[in-house]
């Protein structure tokens, strides 16, 4: 009987309180719990965008790269803070690298596009105390890369006025002279959300089907997008 009365009372109270609007409600205890999640807490997840440039040249008599071969990455990471100085990070990203080759006068472009996924392990060393923010750091680590799609594209202008077309485009996919699995080391200098990055591929990107390899060093910047 008592339970029924309490239930009935609660329903009545619930109905009467519907006319009231809560304009402000604050739970102090909930707000003052120390979270273990945050940019400078025990755990943190984040996402990032990276832009890089391939540095260096092909060691070959005829094949040469243009100065602007580039790489774009988008990824996510998990950071585990072990102490105020040292954290470990596990990161996965999707990347696209475009190697742009020098071309003759009639060829408008010749480029290799490689789409890949990466798994990174990094050691992050933060400098100095900071609040709940990323802070300044040096990060060193290794990466494994799997190239899942390759494409070589060319476009050549047809100089013969009698021809029925102006340009010839070619598109080769599944390039057999590109190694699918690669590994590299990396270093990053971070200033909160911005980082300068350098990745150095230790494995050859090309197989012995061609007599050159593509430059191993990519230098770029990274923007942390937060959680």
């Amino acid at each position: 009987m008592r339970k029924i009365a309490v239930l009935f009372g609660s329903i009545v109270l619930g109905l009467t309180s519907q006319a009231q609007t809560i304009e402000l409600e604050q739970d102090v205890n909930r707000d003052t719990v120390i979270s273990d999640y945050g940019p400078n807490r025990k755990n943190f997840f984040g996402t990032y965008l990276g832009l890089g440039a391939v540095i260096g040249q092909i060691d070959h008599d005829f094949m040469k790269l243009k100065p602007v071969s580039d790489r774009f990455t988008f990824g996510a990471y998990y950071k585990r803070r072990l102490n105020n100085v040292y954290s470990v990070l596990l990161s996965s990203n999707y990347g696209v690298t475009v190697y742009r080759f020098e071309v003759s006068e009639v060829m408008k472009y010749n480029r290799i596009r490689a789409n890949d996924v990466n798994l990174d392990f990094s050691n992050r060393f933060n400098f100095g105390r900071r609040g709940n923010r990323i802070g300044n750091y040096l990060e060193l680590g290794v990466s494994g890369m799997y190239i899942f799609h390759t494409k070589q594209e060319t476009k050549t202008e047809v100089v013969d006025n009698a021809a029925l077309y102006k340009n010839v485009k070619t598109e080769l996919t599944g390039l057999k002279f590109i190694e699918s699995a690669n590994y590299s080391v990396h270093a990053r200098f971070g200033f909160n959300k911005f980082a300068i990055t350098a990745d150095y591929r230790l494995s050859d990107l090309t197989t012995n089907r061609v007599d050159y390899d593509l430059p191993p060093l990519t230098v770029g910047v990274r923007l942390d997008l937060g959680a």
């Binding site: 304009e23 540095i55 100095g128 609040g131 300044n136």
Partner: protein, 549 residues
């Protein structure tokens, strides 16, 4: 591979030779030749005498210059020298730190938190209209920001901050030399001193408009309309903030506080604050940051320190910044002129150690004056100066009060007092408290306790309004019920603002005809809170509490 190694070496070298900011603390001072009457402004002397502070207090004696010279001989230059803490701040690498530690008069060398910081408590000032001719709407708004504090009561009693000296710390005071809002101040030569602690020179006209807006909310007048209450106060203007040198704000704040003390400031207004860039929320205990220590020291010198609570209320940080966390700092939150209660961006209290903050509130949306004209702007940056002007007037009307007595009286003048919460503090301070405070408010509700609940039953409150229909001061809050639950450790677990019947608040509006039912009672269930607790309720100026065992 060589390139990668080179990059790494550059990075490692950078970290090895990087300089840290350090404070070098000295063992003693040389009081020989120290004359407080020449060192301090006369007003600083008077403040010391009023507060019973020894004119030869060791913390007021300047740092031994030979010690500073010795430090500069090692590190090149010092950034800030503090007589209050008998220390000098400078940049030093590991080798220099070791040399500093070997000096016989150095007691310690402490590395300062070198994390970059922004002045997180600041809002950039609003869009300017390009005109100093206020519109009708702007004049109405300005009138409201004064009336909300019953500020015209000060004016009626000829209290406009005369003889009170207010120091404003900010990022820049662009156009203060020409701005029409300060013409009355300039004409009377009431800008006593200025100093740019970033550039180490006197010029503060420039860099940013934030300080200009802030100053207008302390004591500006535009076309005869007051923008703040202390229109006849004296001013010290200090530039302490910079958008580009991330490391120096707190040191500059300390230096400015010592300067303000030396130059006779009675009130400091600082619309500045520091949060997650260098601190965790658990650091907001009023003791951790340098700037909270500096603010407390300023209060110990008899200065009323007014600081904005911060604009993190709707961000992850949510809580007040520092130095608003310092116990002797009057921390000011913001309310919305439109909703009448806490405005969303205003940082919430309490401090990490559960002390009440903010202490009081004022409009967080104001009309201020910038270099190109007057405009509406927002931020607790502007609630703070509204209250700083109020404090100056309160101090003028109660000259015998010590700074901390005045601090508590300003809290008591809050129109929620003795009710409080961590969004509004004790409410908006009311000028009439310092003149003709009404007798105890009449009950506006009854608390009825049953075994499972407490009911707030509102009474007829029509008699609270004057014959002219004008509301008396404590009805400036909307017709809302404020209640909080205080635990046995004497801090709040929860607090609420309830609109007991939405239609009821519209009684003067378009819904007049639809009101047919009496307002429903507010029912609070005991099971929702850990016992024992105290339930305290505010409604239309009346406060009642009930203890639940």
């Amino acid at each position: 591979m060589k390139k990668l190694v080179t990059l790494l070496l550059i990075g490692v070298s950078f970290s090895v030779y990087a300089q840290d900011k350090v404070w070098v603390f000295f063992s003693d001072k040389d009081a020989t030749g120290f004359d407080p009457h020449t060192f301090f402004d006369q007003k600083a002397i008077e403040r010391r005498l009023k507060h019973g502070i020894d004119l030869y207090d060791v913390s007021d004696i300047p740092v031994n210059e030979s010690y500073v010279s010795a430090v500069e001989g090692i590190v090149g230059e010092t950034k800030v020298v503090s007589r209050w803490f008998n220390a000098a701040c400078c940049l030093a690498n590991e080798e220099q730190k070791a040399q500093l530690r070997k000096l016989e008069f150095v007691t310690s060398v402490k590395t300062v938190n070198p994390g970059a910081t922004w002045c997180a408590g600041m809002e950039k000032s609003g869009e300017e209209t390009g005109s100093f001719e206020p519109s009708e709407d702007q004049l109405e708004f300005l009138d409201a920001q004064i009336k909300r504090m019953n500020g015209y009561v000060f004016k009626k009693n000829k209290v406009k901050g005369q003889g009170v000296r207010i120091a404003i710390f900010d990022v820049g005071f662009k156009s203060y030399k020409t701005n029409p809002a300060f013409e009355h101040i300039r004409k009377a030569n009431r800008i006593i001193k200025t100093y740019n602690f970033v550039k180490k020179k006197e010029e503060v006209d420039g860099w940013d408009t934030h300080g200009t807006f802030v100053m207008s909310c302390v004591g500006g007048i535009i076309k005869g309309q007051e923008m703040g209450l202390a229109t006849e106060a004296e001013f010290l203007l200090a530039r302490t903030e910079t958008w580009t040198e991330f490391y120096s704000e707190e040191e500059n704040w300390l230096a400015a506080a010592e300067w303000a003390d030396q130059n006779g400031a009675d009130v400091i207004n600082s619309s500045l604050g520091y949060t997650f860039h260098r601190y965790f929320r658990e650091d907001m205990d009023g003791e951790t940051s340098l700037v909270s220590k500096a603010a407390n020291m300023a209060a110990r010198k008899g200065i009323v320190v007014v600081n904005s609570a911060g604009n993190e209320g709707s961000d992850n940080w949510k809580n007040i910044g520092t130095p608003a966390d310092a116990d002797s700092v009057l921390s000011i939150g913001g309310i919305s002129p439109w909703t009448g209660i806490h405005t969303s961006f205003s940082s919430f209290g309490p401090t990490w150690d559960k002390r009440l903050k903010p202490n009081v509130t004022a409009y967080g949306h104001v009309i201020g004056s910038g270099p190109k004209g007057i405009s509406q702007t927002q931020g607790t940056s502007f609630s703070g100066p509204l209250v700083a002007g109020f404090v100056a007037c309160a101090l003028q009307s109660r000259p015998a009060f010590s700074n901390m007595k005045l601090f508590h009286e300003v809290e008591k003048s809050g129109d929620l007092y003795p009710y409080f919460d961590y969004a509004h503090g004790y409410g908006v301070p009311q000028a009439d408290y310092f003149f003709t405070w009404p007798s105890a408010p009449k009950p506006t509700f009854k608390l009825k306790e049953t075994g499972t609940s407490i009911t707030v039953e509102r009474l007829d409150t029509s008699n609270l309004e004057s014959s002219s229909g004008e509301a008396v001061h404590y009805t400036q809050w909307p017709d809302y019920v404020f209640y909080h639950v205080e635990n046995k450790k004497n801090y709040l677990d929860k607090y609420f603002v309830i609109n007991p019947a939405t239609s009821w608040t519209d009684k003067k509006g378009v819904y007049d005809d639809y009101i047919t039912e009496a307002p429903s009672p507010l029912v609070i269930l005991k099971k929702d809170y850990a016992k024992p607790f105290t339930l305290r309720v505010f409604y239309k100026g009346y406060v009642e509490e009930i203890e639940v065992k």
